[in-house]
Symmetry: D2
Subunit: 300 residues, 4 copies
Amino acid sequence: MTASQQASSTVESASAHQHASLIVRGRDSPGIVAAVAGVLREHHANIVSLDQYSDNPQGGAFFQRTVFSLDNLRAALPEIESALRERLAREFDLEFTVRDMSVPKRVAIFASKADHCLLDLLWRHRRGQLPITVPMVISNHTDTAEEVRGFGIPFVHVPTGDGEHSEVEAEHLRLLRGNVDLVVLARYMRILSGEFLSELGVPVINIHHSFLPAFIGAAPYAKAKQRGVKLIGATAHYVTEDLDQGPIIEQDVARVTHADTVTDLQRRGADVERTVLSRAVRWHCEDRVIRHDNGTIVFT
Amino acid sequence: MTASQQASSTVESASAHQHASLIVRGRDSPGIVAAVAGVLREHHANIVSLDQYSDNPQGGAFFQRTVFSLDNLRAALPEIESALRERLAREFDLEFTVRDMSVPKRVAIFASKADHCLLDLLWRHRRGQLPITVPMVISNHTDTAEEVRGFGIPFVHVPTGDGEHSEVEAEHLRLLRGNVDLVVLARYMRILSGEFLSELGVPVINIHHSFLPAFIGAAPYAKAKQRGVKLIGATAHYVTEDLDQGPIIEQDVARVTHADTVTDLQRRGADVERTVLSRAVRWHCEDRVIRHDNGTIVFT
Amino acid sequence: MTASQQASSTVESASAHQHASLIVRGRDSPGIVAAVAGVLREHHANIVSLDQYSDNPQGGAFFQRTVFSLDNLRAALPEIESALRERLAREFDLEFTVRDMSVPKRVAIFASKADHCLLDLLWRHRRGQLPITVPMVISNHTDTAEEVRGFGIPFVHVPTGDGEHSEVEAEHLRLLRGNVDLVVLARYMRILSGEFLSELGVPVINIHHSFLPAFIGAAPYAKAKQRGVKLIGATAHYVTEDLDQGPIIEQDVARVTHADTVTDLQRRGADVERTVLSRAVRWHCEDRVIRHDNGTIVFT
Amino acid sequence: MTASQQASSTVESASAHQHASLIVRGRDSPGIVAAVAGVLREHHANIVSLDQYSDNPQGGAFFQRTVFSLDNLRAALPEIESALRERLAREFDLEFTVRDMSVPKRVAIFASKADHCLLDLLWRHRRGQLPITVPMVISNHTDTAEEVRGFGIPFVHVPTGDGEHSEVEAEHLRLLRGNVDLVVLARYMRILSGEFLSELGVPVINIHHSFLPAFIGAAPYAKAKQRGVKLIGATAHYVTEDLDQGPIIEQDVARVTHADTVTDLQRRGADVERTVLSRAVRWHCEDRVIRHDNGTIVFT
């Protein structure tokens, strides 16, 4: 049994075999829940969990996450999908996606030299805490190669130092396109171009070492220390063309004092970063996160 | 406009006028969500929020909280109730309660000498943060009388020092029965008998100064200090005949150090207690808490 | 016994009668602790607590907070002060302040319409949790007048709507100068001029509803909600001419979700604000906070 | 450069080369700080940090942690030690220990099947976050052997299934005695006898999956879930003959809900356990923890 098989078979909570997630979103209007639940009932599916949110009951934006179970799920899914399409399209102004949760998402991890976020993801993956497979780790440095391969994961070195940025991104696209459902930047310290993001066509999650209040630009920890901050934090967000401005998935903080050196801040920051990123990846891969404008709905 | 009118008219989130809460519980089986949503749709109600939990999709215990809005809610409620009864009773093994959320719950607060939990509740009530009215505060001491009356709330002194315990409880019952939907023990330091609880017929919420790990019996703070605990906590729970063993609604902790004196622990403990109790009362009065065996489902 | 007498007599921890605080700061060099402790020993003072911090042992900035006890403290203090001056000035490049901790600091509180920070301070003051007296509350609105006077505290209404800003500040200076040791802005929504701060001559603490990451300018809560933040926070800081850029004393956060409305964010924000401000005021008044450049050393 | 050399050379904060820690404890009386600081001054040592605590200034228990730096520390240490002995023994009722902080503590880790606490320690060790060497990992199972050896750490399998308990402990003693300064039980699921602890002669730290409130005995997570707890926690403590009753070093909690399965609780519990244990080991090895009766003083 390989690590990734183990991951998909033992992952806890609702993400087990024979479960599907259904995300519905669009303009709120009376009767949506009844319509969705009606279709599921007609197909003898049992609702395992249902979360619903509307930002305004009077025609605002509507979001619903439903997890349902069904024997012979895989065989029945196309029919359910077509029934939902017919029903939701006819009566409502809604989009939806339905997905077999026993199929783990394929996640490529980008790293540079720092290993804390990368290893936490790989270690949780091996323990079966993340419903993912990791087809590859891509890094512009070789520092973590041995460790990554020790987890049974392919490590691909794509140096960024010399040559055109566009050539590096072309190499990334050759590796990724068609092979992954998500890219995670685990402290990968390079900017991705808008063209790359649009050609890639799958979501990208980044971890940002943000402070409270945010310190922008170079040497953020030194600036934070000068200001005497009492909390440091981290933010996991989707990557958009506007650097570090994408929708926030998760944030957390740790308490610090004047006695913490810049090295101490970095150590505590690393602990928060790995926790926040792992949580964001898990939630994304359990279909708990819905992007909406520049924000997110997170059904935890 | 009185304080309590203000409370019920300005309370935030879903608890506004024209909203009703519907709690459904019983044995899980396919089709419950569809049945409930179908009834609401037939009555042109719009689902504002829906939370659902099942402890086992294969015939486990099922819990659902639905908030819906409807013009002319008050007039339509009896019909909806009867339609739900007919539908849920016929097809499923379910109980339900439906409630007009614009009607604030009537909450009696019991206090002794300590004022921190009592004042936090009254202050939040006045700010419109709790969907409640407070018909009376009952105390076995007079320390807080002036302050309570300053909030425009009746204060009733029922001494417990002399006389039979049963006479005190009889006096309590005379004051409470028919007049309240909830009793909150805001650091009321007397035990309630099983007879009292059963004759009272409404839930009672208590705040317990519990530690991690719990220190039972007299002088818990001194024992905690001897053991060198690093966190102190508080627990809000429903009162049952077994003292301090009832279903937990909410808990929280604060960090302490060896340098904290017993007085410091008490001050920090008081801060946690008032926060935890206020949260528990708000959640209960927004119909977010469902008791199940000796635990709770809390839809926050 | 008045409320403020009660405060100064029952306040917990080291701030009791017969205790003095000694703050020493300057350039680090070997022997400072020995010199300070030597002077105290010669005067038969007992060190109750000692915290020391140096940002660089090789000639960096040195900070020390010492609390000592002594019978007949008040009589002995001038002698100790003069011995410290002679010793620390002769051998080291150091400043110091020594203060009888039984004398509560005189704190004026500025408020506008919001009452949550104001009432939390007054309530903790009455419970004896803050080593302060409150000679006056100044507000540009009358909303909180009755409540403030209910605590036995003078309330002064200084409207800001019409007339010159400088006249308002002149009125403030007439009230404050010589009468207070600290000014606390408890959600006072007006900017203080540099002239005012310099003529006032005592520290001013403000509470800022800062976010993670910070949202600057108008409607911060709406902006935060759009970005999908998962934490909101508050920052207590000393006021400097640069608005909201002064040294940070304390910060904290609360977790929020997409389901929280702007009203919910404000309620949770208010809870964090009052907690953070009260902590900052207590620490300042227990001489635990040392300003250094644009940061702080906080010995908690 | 080996991993352990890296650890001792790059570990942050005060634990660098040329630093020593001095722990003083005993009966409080005036002049202790002056005496200690005087001795250090006479030897031209510079105090880098000083924390002091007394549980009662009138003859209570006194504790002081001092970190000082000195060129040629190793050569000077015996002289300083002897001067301290002479001075503190002559005038006061005090014990002390002084230690060269550039010498990492030798830590043996005991594990069973679970790897989360073990790997977190080894990973932090490799990153230079713990001032320790790890001469061996001892386990009664072989599950983690390959991973441990991948860190360059000897793995010793000492099965416990068959044979006398005393034989197992004898084997442990042969491996450990003289070779280690600390034993860490990283989810080692076997009880240690009082004889073993006393023959071992070095401290033992355990991580306990304690709850709020504590659930004792078998199946604690299932019991916690039944009671509806909202927080789960972990406690790191020194091991004494009374199982799980030893002095607490550190505790922390994580928030859980009714929707968390027992598997979820275990995953969140594991996260808290590894964080709390790593913190406790770091603090112990930086000489920040002083045992006192059945509690601890922790200077963080």
